[in-house]
């Protein structure tokens, strides 16, 4: 051992080349080693969720600058870099992502693009939202203006994804999520878009609530045009479903006895409530016009055209408003068709017969109450009666052969009287009309078939 001390006093000359080694080693190895450590540190951070990560290495000391999304994530990242072999010290330049209060996220759609704005909680959710926006709104540019922030409400991502789906149903508009409240505005692309969005919003995670849903939808339109020249009734626009479609088509057939119904209706969701009742009522009013247009737009019913005589115009203007379901607005623009030239009583008789061969005055079964669907026909009969003011007219009621003669006789008289009452109410002088009942004594067809019976049940107008 003593020898070792003695010899060591002579070891110093070797230190001179050793220093040369040292200088050369430091000169050549520093930068490659720093690069190696930087690469390993970045690899170690691959599992951590960080934003704006920057690593600088000086010697064996790593400076980590990044924004973390939680305190645990921050510490975890520091520990991960510290555990990299070769790293001597980690300089902590990390901080937490700023917290947004309130946490606002929005998606705005216009014709050309979808703009995602506000805050997203994590880089993954940010890219997921951009992806979802691309998927929901095909072929439209997606502009990502989202910043990262802490403080998102729980289940933010599920809510935002659901809202993005709704943005896909908009033509333009904006969806905003502020903490746990959702507000929507804009115009839906399709007729039923507003309803579809409202239904989808029910699936929001339960900690979210809808503060304002101001989505508008294109108006729900139903139109009918009565053309007396072509003798057609053209229906166009929308109906909610096939059942309502069939009901409306049937009502049109009943109310318009002389016109061919041209049905161009399409089925679509989004009808206002009470749509079917409103349209049926409005068609009844249209049927009384000589020519007219009915336009139902959402809850606004516009009816314009010519009534056959003053009384009818007044009835349509005044009466119909009350028959519409709640919430509907009736805007009649009814004028009166100029009175036709007076004619001889014989011509009148011809006109009556022609008209009654096309349509029949109907009553409720076994009763003397006029069916409202016959109003249009009665209006036409009144118009004819007005053209021959001097003629006296017998209104004759007939029944089929079913039932007792006495009852049939009474029923035919009452029905004839009901028609006369209607004519008088419309402003014709009582003195011109006589109501006569013939029971089943004057059949025009056999009473052994349903068709024959239906022909026998009739009202005739006879000029005397």
């Amino acid at each position: 051992m003593h020898g070792l001390f003695r010899w060591s006093s002579k070891w110093w000359p070797g230190v001179i080349p050793l220093v040369a080694f040292w200088v050369i080693a430091a000169w050549t190895s520093t930068e490659p080693m720093e690069a190696d450590l930087a690469g390993r540190s970045l690899a170690a951070l691959r599992g951590s969720v960080l934003d704006k990560t920057q690593i600088t290495v000086a010697g064996r000391d790593v400076s980590l600058s990044a924004e973390a999304f939680s305190e645990d994530g921050r510490k975890g990242a520091l520990a991960a870099v510290g555990a990299v072999p070769g790293v001597r010290l980690v300089n902590d330049e990390t901080r937490l992502v700023p917290e947004a209060k309130p946490f606002v996220w929005s998606a705005e759609r216009d014709v050309a693009r979808v703009t995602l704005g506000g805050s997203a909680p994590l880089p993954q959710s940010k890219s997921k939202l951009v992806e979802a926006a691309r998927a929901a709104i095909n072929g439209v540019e997606v502009v990502d203006q989202m910043a990262l922030a802490r403080g998102a409400p729980p289940r933010f991502e599920a809510a935002a994804l659901l809202l993005l789906d709704q943005v896909g149903k908009l033509k333009d508009g904006k969806v905003t999520l502020s903490d746990d409240t959702v507000s929507l505005s804009g115009m839906a692309r399709d007729l039923g878009g507003r309803e579809a969005i409202a239904a989808a919003l029910k699936n929001l995670p339960e900690n979210f609530k809808v503060a304002a849903n101001d989505i508008q939808a294109p108006p729900y339109i139903f139109q009918a045009y009565k053309d007396p020249v072509a003798a057609t009734l053209t229906l166009s626009g929308y109906v909610p479903d096939n059942t309502v479609h069939a009901a409306i088509a049937q009502a049109a057939e009943r109310k318009f006895f002389g016109e061919k119904v041209v049905d161009n209706l399409k089925a679509s969701v989004g009808a206002p409530s009470g749509f079917s009742a409103a349209v049926t009522t409005a068609l009844g009013a249209l049927s009384r016009l000589s020519t007219g247009t009915l336009a139902v737009s959402d809850r606004e019913v516009k009816l314009s055209g010519d009534a056959l005589y003053d009384g009818a115009a007044a009835q349509i203007r005044a009466g119909l408003g009350k028959e519409f379901p709640q919430g509907f607005q009736f805007k009649p623009e009814i004028s009166v068709k100029p009175a036709a030239a007076p004619v001889d009583p014989t011509v009148c008789q011809q006109l009556f017969s022609d008209l009654l061969s096309k349509g029949k005055i109907r009553f409720e079964a076994a009763r003397a109450t006029l069916d409202p669907d016959s109003t249009a026909l009665l209006d036409r009969l009144i118009e004819i009666a007005l053209r021959c003011p001097t003629a006296n007219i017998e209104v004759a009621g007939h029944t089929d052969g079913d039932g007792e003669d006495a009852l049939n006789q009474a029923l035919s008289e009452k029905r004839a009287q009901a028609v006369v009452d209607y004519l008088v109410k419309a402003g014709l002088p009582q003195s011109r009309f006589t109501a006569v009942g013939y029971g089943s004594t004057q059949p025009v067809a056999g009473n052994d078939t349903d068709e024959g019976k239906a022909q026998n049940r009739r009202i005739e107008f006879l000029v005397r």
């Binding site: 010899w7 080693a25 430091a26 520093t30 070769g86």
Partner: protein, 102 residues
Amino acid sequence: MKMAYLVMFHWGWLLASLLLGLAMGWIAVVHRGPGVSKVTARWLALLVAVLIALAAAKIVPGRFGYWLDLGLILFGCYLVGCAIGSWLRDWVVTHPRPQPTA
């Protein structure tokens, strides 16, 4: 662990230092030139101790810290090489091979 990385990264230089030490130690046993005086040796030992303490405490920052570590580890290898070299030479000198008899 940390040392292992340095050794792996610089094994070539460390080996060179070790060989340098070995050679210097080999020569030192029979060298007749002036040695380092005891007082100087103590001061040098103190200097090295201070440098080791600085490195262990990781006080020197960045690249200088790294160069200090590198220098110390090279110096350590050199000393080990010297010790082995001197000891080997001493062993060879004190145990001469029996001369083959003519």
